[in-house]
Amino acid sequence: MPAEPVTIAFTDAFDAAQIAAVCAHVRRQRAPQVCVDGAAVTVWPTARAALLAQLLRRFERGGYAWSVVGVPDDVRAVLEFFLYRRSKKLRSARPHEVAIVESTLVRIARFLNNIRDLYLLLQDIVYWTMAGPFCQHGFRLSRTSYEITERGVRSLPIVALVAFIMGLILAMQAALQLRVYSALFLIPRMVGVSIVYELGVLMTAVLVAGRSGSSITAELGSMVTSEEMDALRAMGVSITKYIIVPKFVALIIVMPCLTIFADIIGVFGGYVISVLPMMQIGMSSPDYIDKTLDAIRMKDVLIGLTKSVADGVVIACIAVYQGLTTSGGAEGIGKSTTRSVVYSIIMIAIAHLFFTGLFYATGQGPLLQP
């Protein structure tokens, strides 16, 4: 004889904590069918219907046939929504492995798409930078000079401060090591070559990425979200020509200028440490200057400046690209700005590694012989 169905009285007092106990009770009864009676419930907030749905799903997973009685029609409709929609979702769910492969492929496709977009953007920028001056209204000189002031002149204080501190640190670190070998006379050479060849450029690039790259991304991102970009497109104005080229040209101009400035200030930091009597290095002012000028070759300066121009291109492209692909309002602007700085710093490091490797392989690296 088949077992009688178990009847569960679903009341106002029922809460999530009781679901497990009810399921255990049904298991103990060994009945294949469960009937939930909701007649005793006085009010049916959505949460109560959701709890009942949760209970019914547990019965279903346990292999029990269930039925519900004493429930108003509108609550039954809510229950059907919960149960039907979930089952529909389960039916449409794909196997986990397929989903992983699919999402990996999507990511790869998105990455390749980004590379292609970045390439097209760079192509457009280069075109308008070269062709702009020959077209009517093609090159915005006043906007470019404004950008040079914003990105370059206003960066001078922070670049000076950080470069000076870096010069101080480098000279002190060098003194600590070289004192052991009685080679303190090498300090100007070490400080000069390190700063001019690598550190001055790298530090300037990181500072510009953090200060100007982020501000370019935020500015463009906010223009995108407020539909200003769409308005420009609708007016038939080239965004690249009108908005991007002035920023791009400004960064390419200011990067070498800021780098030379950082080099001079950094070397001056080393000078301050070396000639200060309290540091007990015992170097005279003319001696330090002579040794620095001896150590730094014009070729090293040019290599540093080449890197700085490359850094300018990297920062401008990434900042502009991140700005133009912003979506999602204030939150999106924040994310794009963060990505702009992070990607710029990573790409700058990779570019410097590439240049250093290239010059090392071709024997063009800095000399450190006394």
């Binding site: 999530a16 907030p45 959505t46 949460a47 979200t225 979506s327 999602g328 309002g329 939150e331 999106g332």
Partner: protein
């Protein structure tokens, strides 16, 4: 007679010396769509903030669902606020959260339901405002009307007894505004809630209002059903109806 869900008696509201509302009294019956109307700067939004207990009045009393919000401490108002939903003029969705996260926020704050139950409730509320497809969208990806509907879903998360709307049709085109009004009517019918709407949009008022008041010069210039108010001899009311028609 059923007890009113909102009862305002002789309310006086002022910012410092400047009196904004003076001697406002009205009642809202259960499951009614009640409209507070009036021109810009007449004190509609001030009245709404007093109803929500955000401002304390200079004089008078406000009973909401049996609680006098003018004499209840801020911390003791929390249980009442869980029974009230508010849809702000600009939707006020949290931009850093998805639509579903916005709707689940009050549930996570006020209840200790399991996550699955919360997700069920969120899906149901989004279904009621016809935003099933937008649960994982960010607010920035929504149109103006969708934002308002998401805000309604959030306001309804805790099954409120009263839903307040502040200028719900502002910024929407006529089609979206009509759609939103239909949503309000549908919700009242399905969920049996009381709705209080602050607006100056006459087209919307005609579509949804059961009763209402019109505020002018700090006082109630007209009260009753829209038809009753239209027949008012008060020149301010006549002017308002004529100048805001079609807005």
């Amino acid at each position: 007679m059923t007890a009113p869900v909102i009862e305002v008696k002789e309310l006086v509201a002022a910012y410092g010396e400047q009196v904004v509302l003076d001697g406002i009294s009205f009642m809202v019956a259960p499951q009614q769509i009640f409209v507070v109307m009036g021109g810009s700067g007449c004190g509609k939004s001030t009245l709404l903030r007093h109803l929500l207990g955000l401002y304390r009045p200079t004089a008078g009393s406000i009973q909401i669902l049996g609680t006098d919000v003018t004499r209840t401490k801020e911390e003791d108002l929390q249980p009442l606020r869980a029974r009230i939903g508010m849809v702000f003029q600009g939707a006020a969705l949290f931009n850093s959260m998805t639509v579903a996260e916005n709707v689940s926020l009050p549930l996570e704050e006020y209840t200790d339901y399991p996550d699955r139950v919360i997700q069920d409730i969120v899906d149901w509320k989004l279904h009621l405002v016809e935003l099933d497809h937008a649960r994982d969208y960010m607010p920035a990806q929504l149109s103006g009307g969708m934002k308002k509907r998401a805000a309604i879903a959030r306001a309804m998360a805790l099954d409120p007894a009263i839903l307040f709307f502040d200028e719900h049709t502002t910024g929407l085109d006529p089609v979206m505004a009509a759609e939103l009004d239909r949503t309000i009517l549908r919700l009242r019918e399905k969920l049996h809630i009381t709705v209080v709407v602050v607006t100056h949009d006459m087209t919307s008022i005609r579509r949804i209002a059961d009763r209402g008041i019109m505020i002018a010069d700090k006082h109630i210039a007209a009260a009753g059903s829209i038809r009753e108010m239209e027949q008012s001899g008060d020149a301010r009311v006549v002017n308002f109806f004529m100048s805001h028609e079609g807005h």
